[in-house]
Protein backbone atom coordinates (compact mmCIF):
# COMPACT_ATOMS: atom_id res chain seq x y z
CA UNK A 1 0.00 0.00 0.00
CA UNK A 2 1.29 3.43 -0.84
CA UNK A 3 1.09 6.08 1.86
CA UNK A 4 0.15 9.71 1.29
CA UNK A 5 2.98 12.22 1.50
CA UNK A 6 1.50 13.64 4.69
CA UNK A 7 1.41 10.25 6.43
CA UNK A 8 5.03 9.65 5.43
CA UNK A 9 6.01 13.12 6.67
CA UNK A 10 4.37 12.61 10.06
CA UNK A 11 5.88 9.13 10.34
CA UNK A 12 9.38 10.36 9.51
CA UNK A 13 9.11 13.60 11.50
CA UNK A 14 6.52 12.98 14.18
CA UNK A 15 5.45 16.18 15.95
CA UNK A 16 5.32 16.36 19.71
CA UNK A 17 6.46 12.89 20.71
CA UNK A 18 6.81 12.62 24.46
CA UNK A 19 5.04 12.67 27.80
CA UNK A 20 3.96 15.08 30.52
CA UNK A 21 3.78 14.09 34.17
CA UNK A 22 0.28 12.72 34.56
CA UNK A 23 -0.33 14.56 37.81
CA UNK A 24 0.94 17.95 36.65
CA UNK A 25 -1.86 20.53 37.07
CA UNK A 26 -3.59 21.24 33.75
CA UNK A 27 -2.50 17.97 32.14
CA UNK A 28 -5.13 15.64 30.70
CA UNK A 29 -4.16 12.14 29.57
CA UNK A 30 -5.98 9.84 27.17
CA UNK A 31 -4.86 6.24 26.67
CA UNK A 32 -6.96 4.39 24.10
CA UNK A 33 -6.79 1.25 21.96
CA UNK A 34 -5.50 -2.17 22.95
CA UNK A 35 -2.22 -3.98 22.31
CA UNK A 36 -4.00 -7.05 20.94
CA UNK A 37 -5.69 -4.86 18.31
CA UNK A 38 -2.31 -3.51 17.24
CA UNK A 39 -3.05 0.13 18.16
CA UNK A 40 -2.52 2.03 21.40
CA UNK A 41 -2.40 5.82 21.57
CA UNK A 42 -1.45 7.96 24.50
CA UNK A 43 -2.32 11.59 23.97
CA UNK A 44 -1.77 14.34 26.51
CA UNK A 45 -2.79 17.99 26.64
CA UNK A 46 -1.44 20.72 28.88
CA UNK A 47 -4.04 23.39 29.52
CA UNK A 48 -3.35 26.92 30.77
CA UNK A 49 -5.52 26.97 33.87
CA UNK A 50 -6.18 30.73 33.55
CA UNK A 51 -7.18 30.88 29.89
CA UNK A 52 -8.43 27.36 29.20
CA UNK A 53 -6.18 27.21 26.13
CA UNK A 54 -4.20 24.06 25.29
CA UNK A 55 -0.61 25.25 25.41
CA UNK A 56 1.08 22.02 24.57
CA UNK A 57 0.24 18.49 23.51
CA UNK A 58 2.24 15.27 23.33
CA UNK A 59 1.69 11.75 22.10
CA UNK A 60 3.12 8.27 22.04
CA UNK A 61 1.65 5.65 19.72
CA UNK A 62 2.02 1.92 19.24
CA UNK A 63 0.54 1.25 15.84
CA UNK A 64 0.95 1.43 12.10
CA UNK A 65 2.26 4.45 10.23
CA UNK A 66 -1.24 5.87 9.80
CA UNK A 67 -1.91 5.60 13.54
CA UNK A 68 1.34 7.41 14.28
CA UNK A 69 0.49 10.10 11.72
CA UNK A 70 -3.09 10.52 13.03
CA UNK A 71 -1.92 11.10 16.59
CA UNK A 72 0.96 13.33 15.52
CA UNK A 73 -1.46 15.48 13.51
CA UNK A 74 -3.89 15.58 16.43
CA UNK A 75 -1.25 17.06 18.73
CA UNK A 76 -0.49 19.74 16.13
CA UNK A 77 -4.13 20.69 15.86
CA UNK A 78 -4.73 20.70 19.61
CA UNK A 79 -2.11 23.31 20.37
CA UNK A 80 -3.61 26.80 20.65
CA UNK A 81 -7.20 25.57 20.81
CA UNK A 82 -9.46 26.03 23.82
CA UNK A 83 -10.74 22.90 25.47
CA UNK A 84 -14.16 23.47 23.87
CA UNK A 85 -12.70 23.97 20.40
CA UNK A 86 -10.58 20.84 20.79
CA UNK A 87 -13.71 18.79 21.46
CA UNK A 88 -14.90 19.63 17.94
CA UNK A 89 -12.02 17.86 16.14
CA UNK A 90 -13.55 15.01 14.15
CA UNK A 91 -11.95 11.87 12.83
CA UNK A 92 -13.13 12.81 9.33
CA UNK A 93 -10.98 15.94 9.51
CA UNK A 94 -7.97 13.70 10.13
CA UNK A 95 -8.98 11.33 7.31
CA UNK A 96 -9.22 14.25 4.87
CA UNK A 97 -5.99 15.90 5.94
CA UNK A 98 -3.93 12.69 5.79
CA UNK A 99 -5.86 11.19 2.85
CA UNK A 100 -6.29 7.93 4.75
CA UNK A 101 -7.64 4.97 2.75
CA UNK A 102 -10.80 3.20 4.05
CA UNK A 103 -8.82 0.45 5.83
CA UNK A 104 -7.05 3.11 7.88
CA UNK A 105 -10.10 5.09 9.02
CA UNK A 106 -10.01 3.30 12.37
CA UNK A 107 -6.68 5.06 13.04
CA UNK A 108 -8.41 8.43 12.81
CA UNK A 109 -11.26 7.18 15.00
CA UNK A 110 -8.73 6.14 17.60
CA UNK A 111 -7.10 9.59 17.45
CA UNK A 112 -10.48 11.26 18.01
CA UNK A 113 -11.09 8.88 20.93
CA UNK A 114 -7.68 9.82 22.35
CA UNK A 115 -8.50 13.54 22.14
CA UNK A 116 -11.86 12.96 23.87
CA UNK A 117 -10.25 10.83 26.56
CA UNK A 118 -7.58 13.46 27.25
CA UNK A 119 -10.19 16.21 27.47
CA UNK A 120 -12.38 14.12 29.78
CA UNK A 121 -9.40 13.37 32.02
CA UNK A 122 -8.55 17.08 32.16
CA UNK A 123 -12.16 17.98 33.07
CA UNK A 124 -12.34 15.28 35.76
CA UNK A 125 -9.13 16.48 37.31
CA UNK A 126 -10.18 20.17 37.26
CA UNK A 127 -13.52 19.25 38.84
CA UNK A 128 -11.75 17.31 41.59
CA UNK A 129 -9.31 20.18 42.17
CA UNK A 130 -12.19 22.69 42.27
CA UNK A 131 -14.13 20.50 44.69
CA UNK A 132 -11.06 20.14 46.88
CA UNK A 133 -10.53 23.90 46.83
CA UNK A 134 -14.20 24.55 47.70
CA UNK A 135 -14.16 22.16 50.66
CA UNK A 136 -11.19 23.92 52.24
Amino acid sequence: MAYSDKVVDHYNNPRNVGSFGKDTPGVGTGLVGAPECGDVMKLQIKVNLETGVIEDAKFKTFGCGSAIASSSLATEWLKGKTVDEAAKIKNTDIVNELKLPPVKIHCSVLAEDAIKAALADYRDKSATTAAAAASK
Binding site: V17, V40, A67, H106, V109
Partner: protein
Protein backbone atom coordinates in the same frame (compact mmCIF):
# COMPACT_ATOMS: atom_id res chain seq x y z
CA UNK B 1 30.58 -4.33 -2.75
CA UNK B 2 28.37 -1.26 -2.90
CA UNK B 3 24.83 -1.77 -1.73
CA UNK B 4 22.08 -1.64 -4.30
CA UNK B 5 18.66 -0.45 -3.14
CA UNK B 6 16.04 -1.57 -2.46
CA UNK B 7 17.36 -4.69 -0.73
CA UNK B 8 15.11 -7.74 -1.09
CA UNK B 9 14.77 -9.83 2.07
CA UNK B 10 11.30 -11.19 1.46
CA UNK B 11 12.31 -14.35 -0.37
CA UNK B 12 9.63 -16.54 1.18
CA UNK B 13 7.03 -14.52 -0.69
CA UNK B 14 8.84 -14.99 -3.98
CA UNK B 15 12.35 -15.12 -5.42
CA UNK B 16 13.93 -13.52 -8.46
CA UNK B 17 14.44 -15.94 -11.33
CA UNK B 18 18.02 -17.13 -11.64
CA UNK B 19 19.55 -15.79 -14.90
CA UNK B 20 20.45 -19.39 -15.83
CA UNK B 21 16.74 -20.24 -15.56
CA UNK B 22 15.68 -17.36 -17.78
CA UNK B 23 18.30 -18.31 -20.35
CA UNK B 24 17.01 -21.87 -20.47
CA UNK B 25 13.43 -20.67 -20.93
CA UNK B 26 13.91 -18.17 -23.74
CA UNK B 27 14.08 -20.48 -26.78
CA UNK B 28 10.77 -22.06 -25.74
CA UNK B 29 8.90 -18.81 -26.31
CA UNK B 30 10.06 -18.45 -29.90
CA UNK B 31 11.73 -21.07 -32.08
CA UNK B 32 10.76 -24.01 -29.83
CA UNK B 33 7.14 -23.04 -29.31
CA UNK B 34 5.49 -26.40 -30.02
CA UNK B 35 2.60 -27.99 -28.14
CA UNK B 36 3.87 -31.02 -26.22
CA UNK B 37 0.68 -32.91 -27.00
CA UNK B 38 1.21 -32.56 -30.75
CA UNK B 39 2.29 -36.12 -31.40
CA UNK B 40 2.76 -35.95 -35.13
CA UNK B 41 5.38 -33.35 -35.90
CA UNK B 42 8.83 -32.23 -34.74
CA UNK B 43 7.54 -29.07 -33.01
CA UNK B 44 5.48 -31.23 -30.66
CA UNK B 45 8.28 -33.78 -30.15
CA UNK B 46 10.73 -31.05 -29.25
CA UNK B 47 8.36 -29.51 -26.71
CA UNK B 48 7.49 -32.89 -25.22
CA UNK B 49 11.17 -33.76 -24.87
CA UNK B 50 11.80 -30.47 -23.04
CA UNK B 51 8.91 -31.14 -20.66
CA UNK B 52 10.24 -34.65 -20.03
CA UNK B 53 13.66 -33.29 -19.09
CA UNK B 54 12.10 -30.81 -16.67
CA UNK B 55 9.88 -33.49 -15.17
CA UNK B 56 12.89 -35.73 -14.65
CA UNK B 57 14.87 -32.95 -12.97
CA UNK B 58 12.03 -32.20 -10.60
CA UNK B 59 11.53 -35.91 -9.87
CA UNK B 60 15.21 -36.21 -9.02
CA UNK B 61 15.03 -33.18 -6.71
CA UNK B 62 12.21 -34.66 -4.63
CA UNK B 63 13.29 -38.29 -4.84
CA UNK B 64 10.33 -39.49 -6.93
CA UNK B 65 10.81 -42.93 -8.44
CA UNK B 66 9.04 -42.09 -11.66
CA UNK B 67 8.80 -38.68 -13.36
CA UNK B 68 5.25 -39.59 -14.39
CA UNK B 69 4.29 -39.05 -10.76
CA UNK B 70 4.59 -35.30 -11.29
CA UNK B 71 1.65 -33.27 -12.52
CA UNK B 72 2.38 -29.71 -13.60
CA UNK B 73 0.00 -27.05 -12.32
CA UNK B 74 -0.11 -23.26 -12.19
CA UNK B 75 1.58 -23.12 -8.77
CA UNK B 76 1.42 -24.07 -5.12
CA UNK B 77 -2.16 -22.97 -4.58
CA UNK B 78 -3.45 -25.07 -7.46
CA UNK B 79 -1.39 -28.07 -6.37
CA UNK B 80 -2.85 -27.89 -2.87
CA UNK B 81 -6.38 -27.49 -4.24
CA UNK B 82 -5.92 -30.48 -6.54
CA UNK B 83 -4.42 -32.65 -3.81
CA UNK B 84 -7.03 -31.98 -1.15
CA UNK B 85 -10.17 -31.65 -3.28
CA UNK B 86 -9.03 -34.41 -5.63
CA UNK B 87 -8.50 -36.88 -2.80
CA UNK B 88 -11.65 -35.81 -0.95
CA UNK B 89 -13.83 -36.39 -3.99
CA UNK B 90 -12.14 -39.62 -5.05
CA UNK B 91 -12.10 -41.27 -1.60
CA UNK B 92 -15.40 -40.00 -0.25
CA UNK B 93 -16.81 -43.53 -0.10
CA UNK B 94 -13.91 -44.56 2.09
CA UNK B 95 -14.14 -41.70 4.56
CA UNK B 96 -14.96 -38.08 5.15
CA UNK B 97 -12.34 -36.91 7.61
CA UNK B 98 -9.14 -34.92 7.04
CA UNK B 99 -6.39 -34.10 9.53
CA UNK B 100 -4.39 -30.92 9.01
CA UNK B 101 -2.72 -28.26 11.17
CA UNK B 102 -3.52 -24.72 12.24
CA UNK B 103 -0.36 -23.29 10.64
CA UNK B 104 -0.98 -24.39 7.05
CA UNK B 105 -0.81 -21.68 4.45
CA UNK B 106 -4.04 -19.95 3.47
CA UNK B 107 -4.66 -22.23 0.47
CA UNK B 108 -4.58 -25.35 2.64
CA UNK B 109 -6.86 -23.89 5.29
CA UNK B 110 -9.31 -22.42 2.82
CA UNK B 111 -9.66 -25.65 0.84
CA UNK B 112 -10.38 -27.43 4.13
CA UNK B 113 -13.00 -24.82 5.02
CA UNK B 114 -14.71 -25.42 1.69
CA UNK B 115 -14.60 -29.17 2.16
CA UNK B 116 -16.21 -28.72 5.57
CA UNK B 117 -19.07 -26.84 3.92
CA UNK B 118 -19.43 -29.84 1.60
CA UNK B 119 -19.86 -32.18 4.55
CA UNK B 120 -16.30 -33.29 5.26
CA UNK B 121 -14.95 -33.08 8.78
CA UNK B 122 -11.53 -31.54 9.34
CA UNK B 123 -9.35 -31.69 12.46
CA UNK B 124 -6.93 -28.77 12.81
CA UNK B 125 -4.07 -29.99 14.97
CA UNK B 126 -2.53 -27.25 17.14
CA UNK B 127 1.15 -26.40 17.11
CA UNK B 128 3.57 -26.34 20.04
CA UNK B 129 5.14 -23.03 21.15
CA UNK B 130 8.30 -23.87 19.18
CA UNK B 131 6.37 -24.25 15.93
CA UNK B 132 6.55 -28.04 15.79
CA UNK B 133 3.52 -30.26 15.45
CA UNK B 134 3.33 -32.99 18.06
CA UNK B 135 3.08 -36.28 16.22
CA UNK B 136 0.93 -37.68 19.04
CA UNK B 137 -1.55 -34.84 18.52
CA UNK B 138 -1.87 -35.93 14.90
CA UNK B 139 -2.22 -39.56 15.93
CA UNK B 140 -5.03 -38.78 18.34
CA UNK B 141 -6.89 -36.74 15.72
CA UNK B 142 -7.07 -39.71 13.37
CA UNK B 143 -10.38 -41.62 13.21
CA UNK B 144 -11.47 -44.66 11.21
CA UNK B 145 -13.03 -42.21 8.74
CA UNK B 146 -9.77 -40.32 8.08
CA UNK B 147 -8.70 -40.41 4.43
CA UNK B 148 -6.01 -37.75 4.30
CA UNK B 149 -3.42 -35.94 6.41
CA UNK B 150 -2.13 -32.65 5.04
CA UNK B 151 0.84 -31.02 6.74
CA UNK B 152 3.17 -28.22 5.80
CA UNK B 153 6.77 -29.39 5.33
CA UNK B 154 8.28 -26.03 6.31
CA UNK B 155 6.34 -23.00 7.42
CA UNK B 156 6.23 -19.88 5.28
CA UNK B 157 6.41 -17.46 8.22
CA UNK B 158 8.60 -19.04 10.87
CA UNK B 159 10.46 -21.54 8.68
CA UNK B 160 9.90 -24.39 11.12
CA UNK B 161 10.56 -27.78 9.52
CA UNK B 162 8.18 -30.52 10.64
CA UNK B 163 9.16 -34.11 11.31
CA UNK B 164 7.75 -35.18 7.96
CA UNK B 165 9.28 -38.64 8.09
CA UNK B 166 7.47 -39.44 11.35
CA UNK B 167 4.19 -38.15 9.93
CA UNK B 168 4.72 -40.21 6.78
CA UNK B 169 5.37 -43.28 8.88
CA UNK B 170 2.21 -42.68 10.87
CA UNK B 171 0.24 -42.31 7.63
CA UNK B 172 1.52 -45.67 6.36
CA UNK B 173 0.78 -47.32 9.68
CA UNK B 174 -2.83 -46.09 9.56
CA UNK B 175 -3.33 -46.53 5.82
CA UNK B 176 -4.07 -42.85 5.31
CA UNK B 177 -2.85 -40.73 2.40
CA UNK B 178 -0.31 -38.04 3.27
CA UNK B 179 -0.04 -34.71 1.49
CA UNK B 180 2.95 -32.48 2.28
CA UNK B 181 2.76 -28.82 1.33
CA UNK B 182 6.42 -28.44 0.46
CA UNK B 183 6.21 -25.12 -1.36
CA UNK B 184 8.74 -23.60 1.07
CA UNK B 185 10.90 -26.69 1.48
CA UNK B 186 11.60 -28.06 -2.00
CA UNK B 187 14.93 -26.81 -3.31
CA UNK B 188 15.90 -25.43 0.10
CA UNK B 189 16.33 -28.58 2.18
CA UNK B 190 16.47 -32.27 1.26
CA UNK B 191 13.07 -33.66 0.30
CA UNK B 192 12.62 -37.35 -0.46
CA UNK B 193 9.08 -38.57 -1.08
CA UNK B 194 10.17 -42.21 -0.87
CA UNK B 195 12.18 -42.04 2.34
CA UNK B 196 9.65 -39.71 3.95
CA UNK B 197 6.52 -41.64 3.05
CA UNK B 198 4.88 -38.76 1.18
CA UNK B 199 1.97 -39.67 -1.12
CA UNK B 200 1.21 -36.20 -2.46
CA UNK B 201 3.50 -33.18 -2.47
CA UNK B 202 2.88 -29.60 -3.56
CA UNK B 203 5.65 -27.35 -4.79
CA UNK B 204 6.12 -24.22 -6.85
CA UNK B 205 8.80 -22.76 -9.12
CA UNK B 206 8.85 -19.11 -8.07
CA UNK B 207 10.19 -19.88 -4.60
CA UNK B 208 13.23 -21.67 -6.02
CA UNK B 209 14.43 -18.98 -8.43
CA UNK B 210 12.13 -20.19 -11.21
CA UNK B 211 9.27 -18.39 -12.96
CA UNK B 212 5.90 -17.49 -11.45
CA UNK B 213 2.90 -19.36 -12.83
CA UNK B 214 4.06 -22.95 -12.63
CA UNK B 215 4.05 -25.54 -9.88
CA UNK B 216 3.71 -29.27 -9.53
CA UNK B 217 1.88 -31.90 -7.57
CA UNK B 218 3.61 -35.18 -6.90
CA UNK B 219 1.08 -38.01 -6.98
CA UNK B 220 2.37 -41.42 -5.87
CA UNK B 221 1.81 -44.21 -8.39
CA UNK B 222 2.86 -47.22 -6.36
CA UNK B 223 2.32 -48.38 -2.79
CA UNK B 224 -0.23 -46.94 -2.71
CA UNK B 225 -1.42 -45.79 -6.12
CA UNK B 226 -3.08 -42.46 -5.40
CA UNK B 227 -6.08 -41.53 -7.50
CA UNK B 228 -7.38 -38.00 -7.87
CA UNK B 229 -10.57 -36.48 -9.18
CA UNK B 230 -9.40 -33.73 -11.57
CA UNK B 231 -10.39 -30.14 -10.96
CA UNK B 232 -9.95 -29.13 -14.57
CA UNK B 233 -11.79 -30.96 -17.35
CA UNK B 234 -10.45 -30.90 -20.86
CA UNK B 235 -7.94 -32.61 -23.09
CA UNK B 236 -6.78 -35.11 -20.50
CA UNK B 237 -3.24 -33.81 -20.16
CA UNK B 238 -1.05 -34.85 -17.23
CA UNK B 239 -2.55 -38.36 -17.11
CA UNK B 240 -6.02 -36.86 -16.91
CA UNK B 241 -5.32 -35.13 -13.62
CA UNK B 242 -4.82 -31.64 -14.97
CA UNK B 243 -6.08 -30.74 -18.41
CA UNK B 244 -4.75 -27.68 -20.16
CA UNK B 245 -1.90 -26.90 -22.53
CA UNK B 246 1.37 -27.16 -20.68
CA UNK B 247 3.23 -23.84 -20.34
CA UNK B 248 6.43 -25.24 -21.81
CA UNK B 249 8.72 -22.23 -21.17
CA UNK B 250 7.64 -22.10 -17.52
CA UNK B 251 8.07 -25.84 -17.10
CA UNK B 252 11.54 -25.69 -18.68
CA UNK B 253 12.38 -22.90 -16.22
CA UNK B 254 11.04 -24.93 -13.32
CA UNK B 255 13.18 -27.88 -14.40
CA UNK B 256 16.29 -25.75 -14.69
CA UNK B 257 15.60 -24.20 -11.27
CA UNK B 258 15.23 -27.70 -9.80
CA UNK B 259 18.50 -28.83 -11.35
CA UNK B 260 20.37 -25.82 -9.96
CA UNK B 261 18.73 -26.19 -6.55
CA UNK B 262 19.78 -29.81 -6.31
CA UNK B 263 23.38 -29.05 -7.26
CA UNK B 264 23.75 -26.00 -5.00
CA UNK B 265 21.41 -26.70 -2.10
CA UNK B 266 23.99 -27.85 0.42
CA UNK B 267 26.45 -25.01 -0.12
CA UNK B 268 23.71 -22.42 -0.47
CA UNK B 269 21.94 -23.58 2.67
CA UNK B 270 25.15 -23.37 4.65
CA UNK B 271 25.94 -19.90 3.33
CA UNK B 272 22.43 -18.58 4.00
CA UNK B 273 22.29 -20.08 7.49
CA UNK B 274 25.52 -18.26 8.36
CA UNK B 275 24.20 -14.96 7.01
CA UNK B 276 20.88 -15.51 8.77
CA UNK B 277 22.65 -16.23 12.05
CA UNK B 278 24.70 -13.09 11.64
CA UNK B 279 21.53 -11.03 11.05
CA UNK B 280 19.95 -12.62 14.09
CA UNK B 281 23.02 -11.78 16.21
CA UNK B 282 23.12 -8.15 15.10
CA UNK B 283 19.48 -7.67 16.03
CA UNK B 284 19.18 -9.75 19.19
CA UNK B 285 22.42 -8.39 20.66
CA UNK B 286 21.18 -4.79 20.36
CA UNK B 287 17.44 -5.00 21.00
CA UNK B 288 15.89 -6.09 24.28
CA UNK B 289 12.59 -7.96 24.35
CA UNK B 290 12.97 -9.26 20.83
CA UNK B 291 11.66 -12.80 20.57
CA UNK B 292 12.71 -15.37 18.02
CA UNK B 293 9.71 -17.21 16.55
CA UNK B 294 10.02 -20.89 15.68
CA UNK B 295 12.46 -23.47 16.87
CA UNK B 296 16.00 -22.25 16.09
CA UNK B 297 17.46 -25.66 15.25
CA UNK B 298 14.68 -26.77 12.92
CA UNK B 299 14.41 -23.79 10.61
CA UNK B 300 14.81 -23.18 6.93
CA UNK B 301 18.33 -21.78 6.53
CA UNK B 302 17.17 -18.49 5.05
CA UNK B 303 14.40 -17.74 7.56
CA UNK B 304 14.48 -15.35 10.50
CA UNK B 305 11.28 -14.31 12.27
CA UNK B 306 11.38 -12.00 15.26
CA UNK B 307 8.66 -10.33 17.32
CA UNK B 308 9.69 -6.95 18.65
CA UNK B 309 7.63 -6.23 21.75
CA UNK B 310 5.99 -2.78 21.98
CA UNK B 311 6.28 -1.87 18.30
CA UNK B 312 3.79 -2.66 15.57
CA UNK B 313 5.01 -4.53 12.50
CA UNK B 314 3.69 -2.30 9.77
CA UNK B 315 5.36 0.72 11.33
CA UNK B 316 8.65 -1.19 11.31
CA UNK B 317 8.25 -2.03 7.62
CA UNK B 318 7.35 1.59 6.90
CA UNK B 319 10.60 2.71 8.48
CA UNK B 320 12.55 0.44 6.16
CA UNK B 321 10.50 0.01 3.03
CA UNK B 322 12.24 2.59 0.87
CA UNK B 323 15.41 0.56 1.18
CA UNK B 324 14.52 -2.94 2.37
CA UNK B 325 11.68 -5.32 1.53
CA UNK B 326 10.54 -7.42 4.50
CA UNK B 327 7.20 -8.75 5.66
CA UNK B 328 5.26 -8.71 8.90
CA UNK B 329 2.56 -10.67 10.67
CA UNK B 330 0.84 -7.42 11.55
CA UNK B 331 -2.87 -7.16 10.77
CA UNK B 332 -2.18 -3.95 8.90
CA UNK B 333 -0.07 -5.78 6.34
CA UNK B 334 -2.49 -8.63 5.69
CA UNK B 335 -5.37 -8.71 3.25
CA UNK B 336 -7.65 -10.06 5.97
CA UNK B 337 -6.76 -7.38 8.56
CA UNK B 338 -6.06 -10.13 11.07
CA UNK B 339 -2.69 -10.55 12.75
CA UNK B 340 -0.62 -13.60 11.83
CA UNK B 341 -2.48 -16.78 12.76
CA UNK B 342 0.83 -18.63 12.68
CA UNK B 343 2.50 -16.48 15.35
CA UNK B 344 -0.76 -16.43 17.33
CA UNK B 345 -0.89 -20.26 17.14
CA UNK B 346 2.49 -20.44 18.90
CA UNK B 347 0.70 -19.15 21.98
CA UNK B 348 2.25 -15.70 21.73
CA UNK B 349 0.08 -12.75 22.68
CA UNK B 350 -1.78 -11.04 19.85
CA UNK B 351 0.47 -8.04 20.45
CA UNK B 352 3.52 -10.12 19.55
CA UNK B 353 1.77 -11.37 16.42
CA UNK B 354 1.26 -7.75 15.36
CA UNK B 355 4.94 -7.15 16.11
CA UNK B 356 6.50 -9.97 14.09
CA UNK B 357 8.90 -9.31 11.25
CA UNK B 358 10.08 -11.94 8.78
CA UNK B 359 13.48 -11.62 7.15
CA UNK B 360 14.04 -14.13 4.37
CA UNK B 361 17.34 -14.31 2.60
CA UNK B 362 18.04 -15.74 -0.83
CA UNK B 363 20.66 -16.88 -3.32
CA UNK B 364 21.71 -13.32 -4.13
CA UNK B 365 21.81 -11.91 -0.58
CA UNK B 366 25.23 -10.45 0.28
CA UNK B 367 27.00 -10.13 3.65
CA UNK B 368 26.94 -6.32 3.19
CA UNK B 369 23.17 -6.39 2.84
CA UNK B 370 22.88 -8.41 6.04
CA UNK B 371 25.01 -5.90 7.98
CA UNK B 372 23.03 -2.99 6.61
CA UNK B 373 19.58 -4.45 7.21
CA UNK B 374 20.55 -5.57 10.70
CA UNK B 375 21.78 -2.12 11.72
CA UNK B 376 18.84 -0.30 10.14
CA UNK B 377 16.35 -2.62 11.81
CA UNK B 378 17.90 -1.90 15.19
CA UNK B 379 17.69 1.86 14.54
CA UNK B 380 14.06 1.71 13.45
CA UNK B 381 13.03 -0.42 16.44
CA UNK B 382 14.73 1.99 18.82
CA UNK B 383 13.08 5.01 17.21
CA UNK B 384 9.64 3.41 17.34
CA UNK B 385 10.07 2.32 20.94
CA UNK B 386 10.90 5.90 21.86
CA UNK B 387 7.42 6.77 20.67
CA UNK B 388 5.67 3.68 22.02
CA UNK B 389 3.38 4.19 25.02
CA UNK B 390 3.65 0.45 25.74
CA UNK B 391 7.43 0.56 25.96
CA UNK B 392 7.17 3.57 28.27
CA UNK B 393 4.69 1.80 30.54
CA UNK B 394 6.78 -1.37 30.59
CA UNK B 395 9.91 0.62 31.50
CA UNK B 396 7.96 2.23 34.35
CA UNK B 397 7.35 -1.28 35.61
CA UNK B 398 3.66 -1.42 34.70
CA UNK B 399 2.42 -4.89 33.79
CA UNK B 400 0.53 -4.27 30.55
CA UNK B 401 -1.83 -7.12 31.34
CA UNK B 402 -3.15 -5.26 34.39
CA UNK B 403 -4.33 -2.30 32.32
CA UNK B 404 -7.98 -2.25 31.29
CA UNK B 405 -7.68 -1.44 27.61
CA UNK B 406 -10.49 0.41 25.92
CA UNK B 407 -10.54 -1.15 22.48
CA UNK B 408 -12.36 0.79 19.79
Amino acid sequence: MALKFPIFMDAQSTTPADPRVVEAMLPYFTEKFGHPASRNHPFGWEAEAAVDVARQRLATLIGARDPKELVFTSGGTESINLALKGVAEMYREKGDHIVTTVIEQRAGLDVCKRLERQGFRVSYVPVQPDGLIDIEAIRSAITDRTILMSVMFANNEIGTIQDIQAIGKLAKEKGILFHADATQAVGKIPVDVEAMGIDLLSCTAHLIYGPKGVGALYVRRKAPRVRLAPMMDGGGHERGMRSGTLPVPLIVGFGKAAEIARAEMAAEGERLAKLRDRLQDIILSSVDEAYLNGRPDRRLPQNLNISFAYVEGESVLMGLNKETALSSGSACTSATLEPSYVIAALGASAELAHSSIRFSLHRFTTPEEVEYVGQRTVEVIKRLRDMSPLYELAKEGVDLKTIKWKAE
